[in-house]
């Protein structure tokens, strides 16, 4: 998908080696400070052994964070990993944001994998720097390096008398060779990892000083807003910009080519109104007269599409996984259970809509944008302009929410196109309607399940068909059904022990841009599987918790593919059972509830983490009031516990929003929703009490941004069924508002 260089460990440690400049002042322990970009005119640091750590002339310790911050806490957790092994206090650290550059290794901030994949390399980056400082001290004391130990931003000699600040050692350290194998601390010796550390940007945020994509200003900048093609692939038949240009403050109207399949991350196309300020650009748009040619997606209707997916799900599809003989088992069954489940298209709706500032100059380009994939953005901007990549700089601002939307740089390329046309720096701001109507949507999906139950009520056969337009459709018209990667998100890695299993995927064409959204296909797979397990349990008259614990079998590692055999991350049924048990215990599972109330339970393994949730619902006039949600989470070693709790709280809200209200619908190719009145979010009065229960573990750290989302919808649906007897098999719970 993109040409990002994979760095090996040594390259990673050597990345971005700085020069050993002279050094002046001693460290004066400033408070931890979070900046986005280095202050202008700052001298080169004295010691910069790799791309992630530097120590300045004044002793300032700077940690550069390569992943994008969208609220998941990555600027804090990445810095914690480096600081831990560098042996500095948290207060000594200043944090900066990396631009998009291959020297940082993979910068794509997605897949809940920043901590998982960088837990080792970032600690090594810190440890390498510390070892060099220790060796520099040893040299100056003429002692063996083993007698020197970094701590609190100083190297201490074991005699307990001699010590030297890192600032004083930085220049000498810069002249030393990088250690081959920097030694990492034992988990028991961690001073920062495992502590509740507050978000590094929180002080700036509460004072209105934090800088998001929307907040970028560049001297001489103009503003633009784009009237996008109403349907993907639509073209402009004719237009008049005369009236728009009469609006005070409007400078120009620029026609942008419309993206044709495969749309990838090409700008959608339409008419860009360029103005002296954002408001004038919006007003100008209202005066545009455009006749569209709707194109091949102009007849798309989500309701008809859902019916066609349901038809597909009734017929055999492409076999993904098969064990035993399901047909024989169905023929011999005592009882057959069937279910069909539907989840509609969903939009990301990050609070900060897509926005980007671009400045195309004669032979270079600079962009400032809230992007999850700065290197991909840089590569695509360079391709678009026919520039070498080193002529393109991508500054990553804070993201006002991302959820996967800002992995797609279409909105940045759009700003680049407008800047190129007007020859000035330009900020292109999407309206909320632009965002909701022109998203890379989370796939809509129909899931069909069928099980044969034996005399003991346990399934003897399990057939599951999943149907959804693939994210692959965005990249290739050949992608007719879900990819192996998408199917691995809670479908092909179904952990339940059933002797006869058949998993199939059906074909579904895409008519809108499809993209990944927080937890991706896990959302509809977890919904369908949990709902169906509940249905089997109810048919068998067995408690749904007990039924799940039984179906998971003995604690063991499961392997679903050849690749996984050597992976350190295997689905362990014992860990999934443990979170189920903890969530149930904490929520008072099994205790009676008053009439009109009920609890539901669900579990799901995703991004290598184990989550179970119990939702407690009270029905009022047929509408569910969610009273409490208990979340048990096993994400291995916890780097920042308070951040894990926050991510779980947030995932509950994200899950409730999609389960209660989330629905994008289209008629004649056009999306009907446009703002928060028609695409509602959960609000304060509906916020339940959320209790998060962390499982202590010294296993490798695993994902935390996404895994909290999938179990919520099925647990809520189960609670509604327990409270009211109404089975919720189609989302959202509340009818659509358009």
């Amino acid at each position: 998908m993109n040409g990002i260089t994979k760095l090996n460990r040594r390259q990673f440690l050597q990345a971005g080696i700085g020069s050993g400049a002279a050094l002046a002042l001693a460290v004066s322990a400033p408070p931890a400070k979070a900046a986005l970009f280095a202050p202008p005119g700052e001298p080169k640091p004295a010691f910069a052994p790799n791309a992630f750590v530097s120590i300045g002339r004044d002793g300032q310790v700077t940690i550069t964070v390569s992943r994008s911050e969208m609220g998941q806490g990555v600027r804090t957790s990445m810095a914690m990993l480096v600081a831990e092994e560098l042996e500095v206090t948290w207060q000594q650290v200043r944090i900066e944001q990396a631009t998009g550059h291959p020297k940082f290794g993979n910068q794509n901030t997605d897949g809940s994998r920043s901590v998982r994949t960088l837990f080792q390399p970032l600690r090594q980056a810190g440890a390498a720097a510390r070892e060099m400082l220790e060796r520099a001290a040893a040299k100056s004391w003429s002692c063996p390096p083993e007698e020197c130990r970094g701590a609190g931003g100083e190297v201490h000699h074991k005699d307990g008398k001699r010590r030297l600040a890192y600032a004083k050692l930085a220049e000498a350290a810069a002249a030393l060779e990088l250690p081959e194998n920097p030694k990492l601390k034992k988990h028991a010796d961690f001073k920062i990892i495992g502590k509740d550390i507050k978000g590094v940007d929180v002080p700036d945020i509460v004072h209105g000083k934090a800088r998001y994509g929307l907040d970028v200003t560049v001297p001489g900048m103009v503003y633009a807003s784009v009237e996008h093609v109403p349907v993907v692939g639509a073209t402009i038949e004719s237009f008049s910009a005369d009236e728009a240009k009469k609006v005070a403050g409007v400078l120009d109207v620029i026609k942008l080519d419309s993206a044709q399949p495969p749309v990838v991350f090409k700008p959608l196309g339409g008419l860009a109104v360029v103005a002296e300020n954002s408001w004038a650009a919006f007003k100008g748009r209202e005066k545009l007269e455009v006749k569209w040619n709707a194109g091949p997606n102009g007849a798309f209707d989500t309701e008809a599409f859902a019916k066609s997916m349901s038809e597909t799900a009734k017929k055999p599809g492409h076999v993904v996984r098969t064990e035993g003989d399901v047909d024989a088992a169905f023929a011999a069954a005592d009882q057959i259970v069937e279910g069909e489940y539907y989840v509609p298209l969903l939009a990301h709706a990050s609070m900060e809509p897509p926005v980007a500032t671009a400045w195309v100059k004669a032979d270079s380009c600079e962009v400032w944008a809230p992007v999850q994939a700065p290197q991909r953005t840089r590569t695509m901007v360079a391709q678009m302009l026919g520039l070498e990549e080193d002529r393109v700089t991508v500054h990553v601002t804070l993201l006002g929410g991302g959820f996967g939307r800002k992995s797609k740089p279409d909105f940045v390329l759009e700003a680049v196109a407008v800047s190129k046309a007007v020859g000035k720096p330009v900020k292109v701001t999407w309206t909320r309607e632009d965002d909701i109507r022109h998203d890379y949507y989370h796939s809509d999906s129909v899931q069909y399940l069928k099980a044969a139950l034996g005399k003991d009520g346990k399934p003897t056969a399990w057939l599951h068909r999943t149907v959804f337009p693939s994210i692959g459709s965005t990249f290739s018209p050949e992608a007719k059904h879900g990819s192996e990667g998408e199917l691995g998100l809670g479908f092909s890695n179904n952990p339940y022990a059933v002797p006869n299993v058949k998993l199939e995927v059906g074909e579904a064409a895409a008519h809108v841009r499809i993209g990944w959204l927080r937890a991706v296909c896990n959302i509809f797979h977890a919904f369908a599987i949990n709902r169906f397990v509940d249905k089997c349990a109810a048919t068998a008259k067995i408690d749904p918790l007990a039924y799940r614990l039984d179906l998971l079998g003995e604690p063991r590692d499961l392997v679903f593919s050849k690749e996984e055999e050597s992976s350190p991350y295997k689905l362990n049924t014992g860990r999934l059972k443990k979170v189920l048990q903890v969530a149930a215990d904490k929520a008072g599972w099994g205790k009676s509830t008053p009439k009109g109330q009920g609890r539901g339970i669900a579990c799901h393994y995703s991004f290598h983490s184990y989550i179970a949730q119990v939702v407690h619902v009270e029905m009022k006039n047929g509408d569910p009031i969610v009273r409490r949600v208990d979340v048990a989470v096993d994400c291995g070693t916890v780097v920042n516990p308070d951040n894990v709790r926050a991510q779980m709280e947030g995932a509950v809200v994200f899950g409730l929003t999609l389960a209660l209200n989330g629905m994008i619908s289209a008629r004649e190719g056009r999306v009907l929703q446009g703002n928060f009145d028609t695409y509602p979010m959960l609000r304060m009065p509906e916020m339940p009490e959320v209790q998060v229960h962390l499982i202590e573990s010294d296993a490798l750290p695993t994902g935390i941004g996404e895994p909290g989302v999938p179990p919520l919808a099925p647990a809520l649906a189960a609670a509604i069924e327990a409270a009211s007897g109404v089975a919720v098999d189609r989302l959202p719970v509340r009818p659509a508002r358009v």
Binding site: K198, V206, G208, W279, E352, L398, T429, M681
Partner: protein, 156 residues
């Protein structure tokens, strides 16, 4: 276009703008006060909340001409030293995730505490219902408001 003086965070600014231009864009694009955010443009989300004479208003739908002689306070001017009890409580509870909506949340909460120093849960629900947080920090927002209320309530 009109030339108008407006009072923001204790300073008077002269702006030349379309009288229909919402205050949000006056603040952001003309005065460079970017702490106040754009979320919906339709008073649905509260990201643009500021105070007009101490009352929480959605600046994305408030035309410049409607501001009159009113005094505007934005997140940048909520407290002189950045130590409003809500700002401190927000840090203590580590409320923000992405943080984008939080200026609006704090401004709504500040207006609530000014009129109702010891808010009950129902008061918090009502006052904060207009502010969306997509990251889902509501539980911490509620806790932080209660912490700040305790502190302000304890003052003579």
């Amino acid at each position: 276009m009109t030339n108008k003086n407006i009072k923001v965070n204790g300073k008077t600014h002269s702006v030349e703008a379309d009288p229909k231009m919402p205050l949000l864009w006056v603040l952001r694009d003309l005065l460079g006060l970017t702490g106040t955010k754009f979320g919906c443009g339709a008073a649905h989300c509260g990201a643009c909340t500021v105070h007009l004479d101490g009352v929480a208003v959605r600046s994305c739908v408030l035309p410049l001409e409607a501001v009159g002689d009113g005094t505007i306070t934005t997140i940048e001017g909520l407290s002189e030293k950045g130590d409003h009890p809500l700002q401190r409580a927000w840090i203590e509870h580590n409320v923000p995730q992405c943080g984008y909506c939080q200026a609006g949340q704090i401004m709504s909460a500040a207006a609530l505490l000014a009129s109702s120093p010891e808010p009950k849960d129902e008061d918090i629900d009502t006052a904060m219902a207009g502010n969306i947080c997509r990251c889902g920090t509501y539980q911490r927002i509620r806790a932080a408001i209660k912490t700040a209320a305790k502190e302000t309530g304890a003052k003579p």
